[in-house]
C-alpha cells in the first residue's frame, strides 16, 4: 500500500499511540486547581437567579418586577417572557435578576409578582390513546421496505410480539448549565461558558445578542471553557440563559454576571432525552433467519417533535415497516443525550430480537451471529469478532441458560446480550503547532475537553509525531481565540483533533528537518524524529537532540496550521460494539443487581488506551443508571416534575454498578481504519443487555426501563398467571 505523508505510524513504530497513558490534566482536576465555569469569579461578579413559572402550560397575565428592582444590591432585572407569552413547561424562566450576592438575587426573585392563566397541559405519554384524545400527537414518520405483510403471513415463520419502552430522562451533568459573562468595554464581550462548543461560542452569543438588539460583532466576543462538568449533548450553545447573562451584564454596566442554573431548574429546563415506547412484531424462519419487522412506536421530547428511534436498529430484516408518533408534552425541550435516539432504538430492537430468539429456542448470541449479515457491511466483521470475544469474556456458554434460572432460591441469575453502532467521524478542526528555538512545543486549538481526555489525546498525537515525551507538549485549548475546532458532539472530537494535530505536527517537523538537515549533511527526507532526537533514518549515530535541533532554527519559530479534513486517510466513521450483562434478580423483592458488564468495542486506531477504556467505563455507569433508576417523574395534575433533585432522580452509586470488563478491539482490521470517535457507542447497549439479562434470569420480560422493583415484581406476577 502506498504510504501517504501524514499516515499514522505503523504498528511497531508507535512509542505512545495505543498505550495506556494517564490523562495530563488529572492532577489539576483531582487537586481542585482546575477552574470550571462555576468557579469563575472575576472581581465584582454578580450572581443571577431565575424566577421560574410553576405551571406546565400557562399564559402570563401580569408581571410586576418593581419591588425586585428597588431591592438594594439588585443590579439588573431582565424580563424573559413578557405579559402575553405562553409558557410551555414548568420551570421555564420568566424573569432573571442579577444582584451582588446570591441571597439578594434570591430575595429579589421572591419579590417578583407574576400572575398566570393556567392552560391545559399534558406531561405523560406512556398512554398513547390518552395523548391522541388530547390532540397532542403528531406523525413522526413511516417507512416500508420489502413486503412485511407477506413475510409475516408465511406459515413457516416464527413470530414474536412484544412491548418495549424507556421513559424521559435528563442529562444530570455534574456541573449545571451556565456562564459567566462580562463586557470588558461596551463593544467587547468575554464569556466563560460550560459548553461543548468553545469555537462556536462567539457566533452563538453574537447572533443571540443581535436578535435582542444588542450591537456586537462576533470578533469582539471571546468564549472560554477550560474544564466542564459534563455535557452529554446538552451543552452545544450558551443557551437562552447565556444570552440573558450577557444582557444582564450590559444592563449592569459590564459587570461580570454569573448565571448557573440551580439543579432543579437544570432538571426541568435544560433538556431531556426523549422517551420511546413501541409495539413490535418480528419474524424469522425456523432456522433463525430474520424475515420481517413491524413497529408502532411513540415517544415525547417535549412540546416539539424530537426525531424518532432508528427502527429496526442495526439488524435490518429484508421486509420491514415502522411508524412513529410524536407526543407533544409540556415537559421541557428534548436535547441530544449521548447517542441521540440510539439507546431507545437499541432497547426496542434488541429486546424484540431476544424475545424472538427465545421463541426459536436459540441462544441469542447464535441468533445474532446468524443474522449479522443484515447489519451494514462495514460492521459485520467487527460484530462477528466482538460477539465471540464478548461471549468468551462473559463465560457465556457456562452462564447462559434458556429463560428462567431454575436453580433453587430467590436469587436468579441471567445474562443478556446487545449490540450497537455509531458514526464518529472526526469533525472539522484547525490547530496551530508551534516549535520554538528553545525546543518548546505548543499546540493550540479552540477545542474543549469534556472530561473525555481530549487534552491528553492531543498531547499524545503531537508528542508521537515529534518523537517527544507527552509532557514536552504544551496543550492550549478551551478558548475561542485559538484556531477554530468543531463542537464536541456525536463522538467527533478525537477524530477531529487527532487528525488536525497529526497533520500540523508532521508539517512542523518537516520545517525542522529542513533547518537541521544541512548540519547533519543529509537531505530533510532522510531524517526522522525518534526518542527525543532528530536522527538520520537507518543511522541513529548521526543525530541531534531535540534541543540541539531546535537551536538550528536561530531566531525563527516554526508555526504550522493543521487541518481536518485533509490529505491521507487518518480517520473513518462507523463502529460496532457488543455488550453482555450478567445480573442477579431477587424474585422476592424485585431488586436487580448488576454482577458484571462485558463490553467489546471497536473505534479504529486508539490513541490512548486508558482514556478510551475510561470512556467505556463511564458509558456503562451511565447505562446502569438509566437501566435501573432514572426517570423524570411528572405529576399529571400539577404538570410539574416531582424529582428535580439528586435525591429522587436516582443515579447509581459505586455499590450499584457491579464489575465492568472492557475490551477494545485493536490490531489488523481495526487500526488501519484510523481514529474514530467513542463517546456515544458504549452507552447505547446497556439498557438492552441488562433488560435481556433480567429476562433471562426470571423468565419473563420487564417491558420498560427503569427496571425498578415494582415492575420486576409485576412482570413475575404476570408470568405466574400466564
Amino acid at each position: 500500500m502506498a504510504t501517504c505523508k501524514y499516515d499514522w505510524p505503523a504498528a511497531g513504530h508507535r512509542e505512545l499511540i495505543g498505550k495506556s497513558i494517564e490523562r495530563i490534566d488529572g492532577p489539576e482536576k483531582s487537586s481542585g486547581r482546575a477552574k470550571y465555569t462555576y468557579d469563575t469569579n472575576p472581581p465584582g461578579r454578580l450572581i443571577a437567579k431565575t424566577c421560574s413559572c410553576p405551571y406546565a402550560h400557562a399564559k402570563i397575565t401580569s408581571l410586576d418586577t418593581s419591588a425586585a428592582q428597588k431591592l438594594p444590591g439588585v443590579k439588573a432585572v431582565l424580563v424573559v417572557h413578557p405579559v402575553g407569552d405562553e409558557i410551555q413547561w414548568a420551570g421555564d424562566e420568566v424573569v432573571v435578576v442579577a444582584a451582588t450576592t446570591e441571597e439578594i438575587a434570591e430575595d429579589a426573585v421572591r419579590l417578583i409578582k407574576v400572575e398566570y392563566e393556567q392552560l391545559p397541559h399534558l406531561v405523560r405519554e406512556e398512554d398513547l390513546k390518552k395523548a391522541e384524545a388530547a390532540g397532542r400527537t403528531k406523525e413522526g414518520g413511516e417507512s416500508t421496505t420489502g413486503d412485511p405483510a407477506k413475510a409475516f403471513a408465511d406459515p413457516d415463520s416464527v413470530l414474536s410480539e412484544g412491548f418495549y419502552g424507556l421513559p424521559v430522562i435528563t442529562h444530570c451533568c455534574l456541573e449545571s448549565h451556565g456562564s459567566v459573562t462580562m463586557w470588558t468595554d461596551p463593544k467587547t464581550l468575554k464569556t466563560w461558558v460550560s459548553t461543548q462548543n468553545v469555537s462556536g461560542g462567539p457566533g452563538q452569543f453574537g447572533q443571540g445578542l443581535r436578535f435582542k438588539k444588542v450591537d456586537v460583532e462576533d470578533n469582539n466576543i471571546e468564549t472560554i471553557c477550560q474544564y466542564i462538568g459534563g455535557g452529554f449533548g446538552s451543552k452545544f450553545s450558551p443557551d437562552r440563559w447565556g444570552i440573558e447573562a450577557a444582557m444582564l451584564s450590559k444592563m449592569a454596566g459590564g459587570a461580570p454576571v454569573r448565571l448557573m442554573l440551580d439543579r432543579n431548574i437544570e432538571m426541568e429546563m435544560a433538556g431531556a432525552r426523549p422517551s420511546a415506547y413501541a409495539k413490535v412484531r418480528v419474524a424469522a424462519k425456523k432456522d433463525g433467519t430474520l424475515t420481517a419487522w413491524d413497529s408502532d412506536s411513540w415517544g415525547t421530547g417535549g412540546p416539539g417533535p424530537a426525531g424518532h428511534p432508528p427502527l429496526p436498529y442495526v439488524i435490518e430484516p429484508p421486509n420491514r415497516h415502522w411508524k412513529h408518533t410524536a407526543v407533544l408534552t409540556n415537559i421541557g425541550e428534548a436535547r441530544a443525550w449521548r447517542a441521540p435516539n440510539h439507546p431507545q432504538a437499541c432497547l426496542i430492537t434488541m429486546g424484540a430480537l431476544d424475545d424472538l430468539a427465545d421463541k426459536l429456542q436459540m441462544d441469542p448470541i447464535e441468533f445474532l451471529k446468524k443474522n449479522v449479515n443484515l447489519a451494514p457491511p462495514i460492521l459485520r466483521r467487527a460484530y462477528s469478532e466482538e460477539l465471540v470475544k464478548a461471549a468468551e469474556m462473559a463465560d457465556w456458554k457456562k452462564n447462559w441458560h434458556p429463560r428462567g434460572d431454575k436453580t433453587p432460591g430467590h436469587i436468579k441469575r441471567g445474562v443478556g446480550v446487545s449490540l450497537h453502532t455509531w458514526g464518529g467521524r472526526g469533525h472539522n478542526s484547525n490547530c496551530n503547532i508551534i516549535i520554538r528555538p528553545d525546543g518548546s512545543a505548543t499546540v493550540q486549538l479552540g477545542s474543549q475537553d469534556l472530561g473525555t481526555g481530549t487534552r491528553t489525546v492531543i498531547a499524545i498525537t503531537v508528542a508521537e509525531t515529534l518523537g517527544l515525551p507527552v509532557d514536552a507538549i504544551k496543550v492550549e485549548i478551551g478558548d475561542s481565540k485559538f484556531p477554530y475546532d468543531g463542537a464536541s458532539g456525536g463522538s467527533t472530537t478525537v477524530g477531529g483533533v487527532s487528525n488536525s494535530t497529526r497533520r500540523g505536527a508532521v508539517d512542523a517537523l518537516d520545517e525542522l528537518f529542513a533547518a537541521v538537515a544541512p548540519s547533519l549533511g543529509v537531505q530533510p527526507a532522510d531524517l526522522e524524529a525518534w526518542n527525543g532526537k532528530i536522527q538520520v533514518k537507518g543511522d541513529a549515530s548521526k543525530s541531534l537532540t531535540w534541543k540541539q535541533a531546535c537551536a538550528k532554527l536561530g531566531v525563527k519559530t516554526i508555526q504550522t496550521l493543521g487541518k481536518n479534513p485533509g490529505p491521507c486517510h487518518l480517520g473513518d466513521s462507523g463502529v460496532g460494539g457488543v455488550q453482555i450483562a450478567d445480573v442477579s434478580v431477587d424474585t422476592e423483592t424485585g431488586q436487580v443487581k448488576i454482577n458484571r458488564i462485558i463490553a467489546a468495542q471497536d473505534c479504529g486506531l486508539i490513541i490512548d488506551m486508558k482514556t478510551a477504556e475510561s470512556q467505556v467505563y463511564g458509558a456503562l455507569i451511565m447505562g446502569v443508571c438509566y437501566s435501573l433508576f432514572e426517570q423524570k417523574v411528572m405529576d399529571e395534575t400539577l404538570g410539574v416534575m416531582l424529582n428535580p433533585n439528586m435525591e429522587f432522580y436516582k443515579l447509581a452509586t459505586i455499590g450499584d454498578i457491579g464489575e465492568f470488563v472492557v475490551h477494545m478491539m485493536t490490531g489488523p482490521g481495526y487500526d488501519e481504519r484510523g481514529v474514530i470517535g467513542l463517546g456515544e457507542p458504549p452507552v447505547i447497549s446497556p439498557g438492552a443487555a441488562i433488560a435481556n439479562a433480567v429476562t433471562n434470569a426470571i423468565g419473563v420480560r420487564v417491558p420498560t426501563l427503569p427496571l425498578t422493583p415494582d415492575k420486576v415484581l409485576a412482570a413475575l406476577e404476570k408470568g405466574e398467571k400466564a
Partner: protein, 328 residues
C-alpha cells in the same frame, strides 16, 4: 433560603428559652443535614434557628448491657455505628444506622435529628404541603404514590415516616426525653409519632417549645434484634420498606416479640398481627414468612405502590431470620 436569626446557646435551658410556642417560627438544628436543605427548598422558613451544636451536655453515650443505653441528642450516626455497647447488645440498632449510607450524613447527622427529620415525600419537598392537598383533596391517591404509605393511609396523610432508627428503637421499647419550659418529660417512642390531621400539624408529639435531649434504650436482656431494609440503591437512598424486630427467645421458641415496620406508613408501624403470629412459635422460615404476611394483612396499597406490600412482608421475614441467625 430566607433570612433568619441564628442562635447558638450553650445549655439546654438557654436553648429552650429561645424556642417559640407555635410551629414554623423557630426550628431546632442538630446536624442540620435535613433542616438546611429544607430551608434552601423553602419547605420550612424559620425566622430563628436554634443550633444545639454548643450544648455540650447533649454529646454523650452512656450505659451498657445491664442498665441499657442512653444516647445524647447530638450523638452522630457515625458515633452510634462505632459504639461498642450498641454493636454487642443491639445489632438491630447498628444495622438500622448502617442503612444511612452517606458518610457525610453519618458524620453530620445526629440520632435526635434522625428521629425528627421531616418526611421525604416529594409533594411535601416540592412545596405542596405535608398532606399534598390541592383543590380540597390530596394529590397522592391519584398521583405519583410509588413511595407512599400502604398502611395507616386512610388519609389525610399518605407520606411515609422517614426514620431508619425509629422502628428498631420502638421495638426495643425506647423512650425519648423532652425538655421544655416546664422541665423534662419522658415519652415512649411508640407514642411519639402521630399522623397529622390537618396541614400545619407535625408528625410527632413534641411541642414547638421542647427539645429532644436523650434517647433511652432499655437493657437488651439477651434479646435478638435485627433490622432489614429494602432499597432500590445500595447507598444514598431511602428504604422502600424496612422491618425491625426484637425477640425474646426460649431456645428456638419466640416468647415475646416486637415487630415494627418502617417507611410504609405516616408513622413507624408496630405490627401486633406479626407479633401474634410469632409468639409461642418456633421461629422458622415458614413462621417468619407467616409473620410477614400477617404484618401486611391490613395493607391498603394505592395505585402505584402495591409492590411495597410484598416488600414489607419480605422485610419482616428477613429481619426475623437475620435476628435468629445473629448476622451482623
Amino acid at each position: 433560603m430566607e433570612a433568619f436569626e441564628y442562635a447558638s446557646p450553650k445549655s439546654i435551658q438557654d436553648a429552650v428559652r429561645l424556642l417559640g410556642s407555635t410551629w414554623g417560627g423557630t426550628e431546632v438544628m442538630a446536624g442540620g443535614t435535613d433542616l438546611v436543605s429544607a430551608m434552601k427548598d423553602g419547605v420550612v422558613t424559620p425566622k430563628r434557628v436554634v443550633s444545639l451544636k454548643n450544648v455540650k451536655e447533649l454529646q454523650f453515650a452512656r450505659g451498657g448491657a445491664r442498665e441499657g443505653l442512653r444516647l445524647g441528642a447530638l450523638l452522630t450516626i457515625r458515633e452510634l455505628l462505632d459504639l461498642p455497647q450498641a454493636k454487642q447488645e443491639y445489632p438491630g440498632l447498628v444495622q438500622a444506622a448502617d442503612g444511612i449510607r452517606g458518610e457525610q450524613m453519618r458524620h453530620m447527622g445526629t440520632v435526635s435529628g434522625e428521629l425528627l427529620q421531616r418526611p421525604r415525600d416529594w409533594y411535601f419537598r416540592n412545596g405542596f404541603g405535608l398532606l399534598a392537598e390541592y383543590d380540597g383533596k390530596s394529590l397522592i391517591p391519584d398521583g405519583q404514590n410509588y413511595y407512599s404509605a400502604i398502611l395507616g393511609n386512610s388519609g389525610p396523610a399518605y407520606f411515609v415516616s422517614p426514620s431508619s432508627l425509629a422502628p428498631i428503637l420502638i421495638a426495643l421499647d425506647a423512650k425519648v426525653t423532652l425538655h421544655g419550659p416546664n422541665g423534662r418529660r419522658e415519652v415512649e417512642l411508640s407514642k411519639f409519632y402521630r399522623t397529622p390531621q390537618s396541614e400545619g400539624e407535625r408528625e410527632y408529639v413534641i411541642n414547638p417549645d421542647e427539645i429532644l435531649t436523650e434517647i433511652t434504650v432499655p437493657a437488651a436482656r439477651g434479646m435478638k434484634t435485627a433490622t432489614y431494609e429494602i432499597r432500590e440503591k445500595e447507598g444514598l437512598d431511602w428504604p422502600l420498606a424496612a422491618a425491625a424486630v426484637a425477640l425474646e427467645m426460649d431456645g428456638n421458641t419466640v416468647k415475646r416479640s416486637r415487630v415494627v415496620l418502617g417507611h410504609v406508613a405516616p408513622v413507624p408501624w408496630p405490627s401486633p398481627e406479626a407479633e401474634e403470629a410469632l409468639n409461642g412459635k418456633n421461629l422458622t422460615e415458614e413462621t417468619a414468612d407467616a409473620a410477614g404476611k400477617a404484618a401486611v394483612s391490613k395493607a391498603t396499597p394505592l395505585s402505584q405502590n402495591g409492590y411495597k406490600v410484598q416488600l414489607a412482608r419480605v422485610a419482616v421475614k428477613r429481619a426475623l431470620m437475620r435476628a435468629v441467625k445473629g448476622e451482623a
